[in-house]
C-alpha cells in the first residue's frame, strides 16, 4: 500500500511539472508577447508595457521566464499587474469567499442526487423515472445563466431572497449573529443555482450505476434469501453502486474555479471564478497563470486522493495492484 501511494505521488509530481509548463505556455499561445496582446487599448501606456516586460522577464529566453515564474510563485513574490498585490494573497482571500458557496452547492448536489437517482433506478420506466429523467436532461441542457435569470425574476419578488453579493452592504456593525444569518441568507440562491446542473448529472449517473448493480447475481441472491426490499436496495445494491463515486471526488475540486465563473458573475459573488474573470478582463497575467496552475494542481491532488480511497474501499483494486506491482 505504501509503495502504491509513493508511486502515485511521484507520478503526480511529474504531472505537476508538465502542467506548470503547459499553464505557462498558454499565455504564450497568443500571437506576439503578453505585452503586445492589446495594442489597440489606449489604456496600455508604454510604462505598463515596460512593467509587464520586466515582471515577465520577457527579454529572457522562454525557459528562464518559466524559471522566474516558478521562483516568484514559490517565494510568494509574484505580484499582480493590476494592483501589485501578491498573487497568492489575492487568491487566498477569494478562495475563502468561494469556499462556503462551493461547500453548500456540493452538499446539495450529493444529498439530493442520490435519493433521486436511486428512486429512478428502482422504478425504472415508471412515471417517476421518466419525469426525473426529463427534468434532469432539461437542467443539463439549459444555459446556466438563462435559468438563473428566470429564477431571480421569480424569487426576488416572491421571497425577497438576496441575489447579489455575499452580504448586505452596511451590515459590518451588526451583531455577529445577524451577520452570520445574513451571509447564510445570501448563500441560498447562488448555491442552489450552481448545484442544479451537477445535481442533474450526478442523479443520472447514480441511476445508471444502480441499474448496473440491481441486475447482479448477489442482488438476486439477497432477494432469494427473503431479505426485505429496503435491505436489498440499500445494503446490498447501493454499497456496491457507491464505489465509482469515490473517483468523482477528484473532479470536484477544480469546480471551485472553472465551474463558478458564470455563477459568480451572475450573483456578483467575489470568489475565485470572478477573480479569474476580472483578471482576464484586465489582462492580469500572473493571476490567470497562477489560477490555471492551482486548479490543475488541485485536480491532481483530488485524483490522488480518490485513487487512494478507491484502493482502500475496493479490495479488488488493491489485490490487482499487488499482482502487477
Amino acid at each position: 500500500m505504501q509503495a502504491f501511494i509513493l508511486r502515485n505521488v511521484l507520478q503526480r509530481l511529474v504531472l505537476v511539472f508538465i502542467v506548470s509548463i503547459l499553464a505557462h505556455s498558454v499565455i504564450h499561445l497568443a500571437p506576439g508577447e503578453p505585452s503586445e496582446v492589446d495594442p489597440a487599448n489606449p489604456r496600455m501606456k508604454p510604462e505598463d508595457i515596460a512593467k509587464i516586460r520586466e515582471a515577465f522577464h520577457l527579454d529572457a529566453p522562454l525557459y528562464m521566464q518559466y524559471a522566474y515564474w516558478i521562483r516568484d510563485l514559490a517565494s510568494g513574490e509574484l505580484k499582480s499587474f493590476k494592483d501589485s498585490q501578491p498573487v497568492l494573497g489575492k487568491i487566498w482571500r477569494r478562495f475563502l469567499n468561494s469556499l462556503p458557496l462551493f461547500i453548500c452547492a456540493t452538499l446539495l448536489v450529493w444529498t439530493l442526487a442520490f435519493p433521486t437517482g436511486i428512486q429512478a433506478a428502482i422504478h425504472r420506466g415508471a412515471v417517476y423515472d421518466r419525469s426525473t429523467t426529463f427534468a434532469a436532461y432539461t437542467l443539463i441542457s439549459v444555459p446556466g445563466f438563462f435559468l438563473s435569470y428566470i429564477v431571480i425574476l421569480w424569487v426576488v419578488d416572491l421571497f425577497g431572497v438576496p441575489v447579489i453579493g455575499l452580504k448586505t452592504f452596511g451590515m459590518d456593525t451588526a451583531p455577529p449573529l445577524f451577520q452570520t444569518m445574513d451571509r447564510i441568507w445570501h448563500l441560498v440562491i447562488p448555491s442552489l443555482m450552481s448545484a442544479l446542473g451537477g445535481m442533474a448529472i450526478l442523479s443520472r449517473y447514480v441511476r445508471s450505476q444502480m441499474l448496473e448493480v440491481v441486475g447482479q447475481d448477489y442482488v438476486r441472491t439477497a432477494r432469494a434469501k427473503g431479505a426485505e426490499e429496503a435491505v436489498v436496495i440499500y445494503r446490498h445494491a447501493l454499497r456496491n453502486a457507491l464505489l465509482p463515486f469515490v473517483t468523482m471526488f477528484g473532479f470536484l475540486l477544480p469546480g471551485l474555479i472553472g465551474g463558478s465563473v458564470i455563477f459568480e458573475q451572475i450573483f456578483a459573488w467575489p470568489g475565485l471564478g470572478r477573480l479569474g474573470y476580472e483578471a482576464i478582463l484586465a489582462r492580469d497575467f500572473p493571476v490567470i497563470l497562477t489560477l490555471n496552475f492551482i486548479a490543475a494542481v488541485l485536480t491532481l491532488a483530488g485524483t490522488l486522493l480518490s485513487d487512494i480511497l478507491y484502493a482502500v474501499v475496493d479490495p479488488r483494486i488493491r489485490t490487482g495492484l499487488q499482482g502487477d506491482g
Partner: protein, 327 residues
C-alpha cells in the same frame, strides 16, 4: 411465422440455429425507436438542420430575411407585430410586413437573426466536435493500437495517456475563457479552442475500445492472415468502435453550443456581425423587463435544441449498448 413453416417443411433444420433475423444496426434502430423522448429529439434535430440550411440560404445567399437591416423607428416590437409602412421604407420591410419574433433594440428582425444564428450556432457545435473527435480518435487509436511501441524511455501509451491526464487537470471552461480572451476575437478561434479542449474523453474511450478489440478473435484472425495494420484498424476495428464515438459526438455538439452561450454571456463569445443564439440571448438579458422576447426566445431555442441533442445522444447510448439490450 415463416420460421415455423420452414420447420414443418424441413425437420432436419430444427436442431440448427436460426439465422439472425436482423442486423445489429437494425436492432439498434428498433431499440432507438422505442425511446419516445429520443425520437422526439431526432425530429427536432432534423427540423433544426433544415432551419439552419434554409437560414444560411435565406439570410446570406438569397437575402429574403435580412438580419442586418436597422429600423430604429420600430425597435422593441413584440412578436407578431405588423410593420408600419409609414415609418419603414418598403425595401426595409420584413417578409409579409410582419415581425414573427419581434424586433430588438436596433429594430432588427429577431426572426431573421435567429435564422442566421441557427446556422452559426450549429456550425460551431459541429466543427468543434469534429476537431475534438479527430484528435481524440487519432490519439486514442494510437494509444490503443501502438501503445506498446517504445519511444526512448517511455511507451507511446504512457506518453499519450499522461498528456490526456494533464489536459484533464485544467478547468475546461476557464481554460477556454483564458485562451479565447488572449486570442484575437474570431468565430474560428472559438470553434478551435472548444475542440482542442474537449477531446480527452473521446481519446480515453477509443483507447479502451481498441484495447478490448485487439484481443477479439476477428482482429487476431485478420492480423494472422497478414492484413496490414492500416486495414486491421480501418476495416475491422474502427467500425466496431464507432458506437461510443457517435454518442459522445452528439452530446459534444450540445456541450459546445452551451459553452458558446456561456462565453457570450461573459462577453467573449462570437462577435458581431455574426448572430448566434448565444449572443442574441446574452444581449437580450439587458432588456429582460422591456423586451422579454429578446431573452426568452433564444433561451428557449437553445434549451430545446441542446435538450434534443442530449436526448438523442442518450437514446443512441442505450440503443447501441449491447449490455443494456440483453436485459
Amino acid at each position: 411465422m415463416e420460421h415455423v413453416s420452414d420447420l414443418t417443411k424441413d425437420p432436419r433444420q430444427s436442431g440448427e440455429e436460426l439465422p439472425p433475423s436482423e442486423t445489429p444496426w437494425q436492432e439498434s434502430l428498433r431499440l432507438f425507436r422505442k425511446d419516445r423522448l429520443a425520437v422526439a429529439g431526432a425530429y427536432v434535430l432534423v427540423l433544426l438542420l433544415f432551419t439552419a440550411v434554409f437560414g444560411k440560404v435565406l439570410t446570406e445567399w438569397v437575402v429574403v430575411f435580412d438580419p442586418e437591416v436597422v429600423r430604429l423607428p420600430e425597435k422593441f416590437l413584440p412578436p407578431l407585430t405588423f410593420s408600419s409602412i409609414d415609418e419603414v421604407p418598403a425595401h426595409d420591410q420584413p417578409v409579409g410586413g410582419i415581425y414573427l419574433l419581434g424586433t430588438d433594440e436596433l429594430g432588427r428582425d429577431v426572426f431573421a437573426r435567429m435564422l442566421q444564428g441557427s446556422f452559426v450556432s450549429l456550425s460551431i457545435g459541429f466543427i468543434a466536435v469534429g476537431i475534438s473527435l479527430a484528435i481524440g480518435i487519432v490519439l486514442g487509436g494510437l494509444s490503443g493500437f501502438y501503445g506498446n511501441v517504445r519511444l526512448g524511455l517511455v511507451t507511446v501509451d504512457t506518453l499519450i495517456m499522461r498528456f490526456t491526464d494533464v489536459m484533464l487537470c485544467f478547468p475546461t471552461f476557464f481554460l477556454i475563457l483564458t485562451v479565447v480572451a488572449l486570442l484575437p476575437p474570431s468565430i474560428y478561434n472559438i470553434m478551435i479552442v472548444i475542440g482542442l479542449t474537449s477531446w480527452m474523453g473521446t481519446a480515453r474511450f477509443v483507447r479502451a475500445e481498441f484495447l478490448a478489440l485487439r484481443k477479439q478473435d476477428f482482429v487476431v484472425a485478420a492480423t494472422s492472415v497478414g492484413a496490414r495494420d492500416r486495414r486491421v484498424i480501418f476495416a475491422h476495428m474502427v467500425p466496431n468502435a464507432i458506437a461510443p464515438v457517435l454518442v459522445s459526438a452528439t452530446i459534444g455538439v450540445a456541450t459546445a453550443i452551451l459553452t458558446e452561450s456561456g462565453l457570450s454571456f461573459l462577453g467573449f463569445g462570437v462577435q458581431p456581425p455574426y448572430a448566434t443564439w448565444g449572443n442574441i440571448l446574452a444581449d437580450g438579458k439587458g432588456f429582460i423587463f422591456d423586451a422579454p422576447w429578446l431573452f426568452f426566445i433564444p433561451g428557449m431555442a437553445i434549451l430545446v435544441v441542446v435538450l434534443a441533442f442530449n436526448l438523442v445522444g442518450e437514446g443512441l447510448r442505450e440503443a447501441l449498448n449491447p449490455k443494456l439490450r440483453r436485459r
